[in-house]
Symmetry: D2
Subunit: 241 residues, 4 copies
């Protein structure tokens, strides 16, 4: 899975989708409804963003994933994207979990930054309570001991533990996990080596001009370099990406 | 502020409201929509619970507070209670914050278990973005270093810091903060001494039969003993409760 | 207990001891062997500092406490001070604990910044393994969730829990716990209200010129104001300081 | 680096050394002086253990590493082993760091469970203050968010960050980092993929009978399976073990 934090324009998404496709990704990400810590930050293009994401995905033959932040917008978001994402801040937004679960769409649930693994799996239980749809678990970093160098602490321990105690696929998002693009390749490779079933990477045609999370986004060229390395690590442990 | 975690019945709320009133509380709490970690736990009486809470509050001449968990239920909850509570798990549920903010009702925002104080105040900013209504900040414990003896770590440092960096009143909830009723009195007194503008206490007529959070609820008799002590501590630092 | 972080000079200690005595403290603190995070920071006056501390204590009829950092210096430090302190960084320095325990001196053990309460009590067990001397437990702040406003998170939950699960007296050190002098009075009052058996406060005649920890030190005048408030809080909960 | 937590007997060490050698390790670990949380736990064979370790290393042509816990035993430990280890609990035992630094021996410094990376590097600065000897940094897990499934949280973020901000080699110890042997292989592979310069693994001929840390020790057979996988991951990122 690859793509920018936020959908910003058709051009940006077309370039991001090309980069994702060329590098061999199968899912295009792009945020249209953005949960931002401050009300004064860019809040996303909303439905217009979903349309752009859908269009970019279709052109490159990629599945799409985007976050839904409120339960009554589940049908709207589900009408544009293939996989519904529940963000880390909403891991225990139970009305939202129930509605997403009822949608029948594949869903990806991000772990909250202070959630134990039991809390994480019980939140997934809300999703599965009303349907048999596929749920992906996503580790994206927990509250850090040390905020000086990374945004979060990517908790890769969670990968082998979740693989053992749950039957659900485990995705790792090293971009949010470390929050600094130059550390993302090492942690992406570590994620694959730890047994992740998939990786979500933030990729932006021009990270320095990104409206959100530019600091953690790879360029298309960096993604192009990274993907064969990820495949080599996967092959080394007897898996494929 | 005092009352049970969940509204369970008219009898329970009448006894809790009497206890709160007798002890000198001014606000009655009671959860009707309950955010529960597991979908298999009691989820609250919902609108029926709000009616019971309203009735109990009126009989004892107490203001009422209850949590609202989804943005489209803000008008419903606001039609029954005086103060709208946003729970810790929803501190960054931004669509909910916006709707609660628009309601014009007084609001109490609980700090998320891994939220920094800046993230907490930015969430409060979402509440104040659309109205001039009163916002109360509530510290209720952060992610614990040691889960062996307490449920969370009540972060009383937050009280003097928030009093300095914000103009909003600071409420402390030692019941959730420690999660064990026999430690609640000491921490309630510490909260007052640290400068809290108000205390929220869980009180249940019969904690052992409570449908949620019984382990951290005081009995009416314990509240009766505690309140004069809290007043004495308040007086010692030149304040009144 | 009151006094400066580091012993710097006879004049400094005389003023600090006068301030401690006037305010009603019974123990004078002062570091002579300093565990500093960086090798380039001031490392303490060592034996010369112990002599100054002893002299200042005698003149004001105060007991003295100072940290011992290495096991073979236990006899030296014990020859000058009344109470041996084991610092937070050395909570699990087991050879040191064994030697301090054998000294027969009263001892104060500071909790490590990531120590659980069980680890804390097992470290105290090392102290008590070889003697019957008195051990004081000292909470001084745990690793913070949020380093923006305070140096540590003073974990006052530890006070009622330790009082219940151990028979040892509990001292709280709000100066290290918050690390910012203007928040120290509120947290000192909270510590007393939470049931601490004693409070350790950093006091320096001139905090702005302190060679270590000036930012968290009270002035003698601030201590003078604080002590009657602490006594009032203690009285409010039926205790005396 | 491989070997048991504690040296227990000549037979145990001979088997462990054979396993390490066969698997291709270059350094044999074995604890003789053991820092144990409880005074009632096995404290190590001390000098007799060092002799056994030295002998086992010589027979298999392996370098040896063992922890030194007190500064006045540095010459003793240095007379038996090739690399001196400073344990996580002693990361800020400054008198010990100074003596180990003066020894001129290669040293491995383990990161404390709540140490920031700056505190870690400043502790290494104490080691390098008095000599030019080689210092290895070892990440071994930080204080966990969730103690239910792992003993610590192995912080692999530290690997790429330390590689960038320091010139020192980075070793990762997944055995202590997760504390559960069945999660060790995945995390060892993740450590290599994250860029670690070396891996330290606990290996015991019979983990179920180990006197310490059996739960996290691999068997020789498990090590035999793991090593080629680690080499494959290293090759995938263009390195060799």
């Amino acid at each position: 899975m690859a793509g920018p934090c936020s959908v910003e324009s058709s051009d940006q998404m077309r370039l991001a989708a090309e980069a994702a496709r060329t590098a061999g990704a199968s899912v295009l990400r792009g945020g249209a409804f953005k949960p931002r810590t401050s009300p004064y930050s860019f809040q996303g293009l909303q439905e217009a963003g979903l349309k752009i994401l859908q269009q970019a995905g279709r052109e490159q033959n990629l599945l799409t994933i985007s976050e839904v932040m409120q339960h009554d917008l589940v049908p709207l978001v589900a009408s544009y994207v293939d996989i519904l994402q529940i963000g880390a801040r909403n891991m225990q937004n139970f009305p939202l979990l129930v509605e997403v679960g009822k949608s029948g769409h594949p869903m990806m649930l991000k772990r909250g930054p202070s959630a134990t693994l039991d809390e994480f799996l019980l939140a997934a239980e809300y999703l599965m309570h009303h349907s048999n749809a596929k749920v992906l678990l996503c580790e994206r970093g927990v509250q850090p001991l040390d905020r000086s160098y990374t945004r979060n602490t990517l908790d890769l321990n969670a990968a082998p533990v979740l693989k053992e105690i749950s039957h659900l696929p485990v995705i790792v998002d090293p971009s949010h996990g470390v929050g600094v693009s130059r550390y993302v390749p090492a942690m992406a490779m570590a994620s694959v080596a730890a047994g992740a079933d998939g990786i979500m990477l933030e990729v932006h045609p021009n990270p320095r001009e990104a409206m959100s999370d530019g600091a953690q986004s790879l360029t298309p060229a960096q993604l192009q370099v990274l993907m064969p390395q990820l495949r080599a690590v996967a092959a080394a442990i007897g898996r494929s990406l």
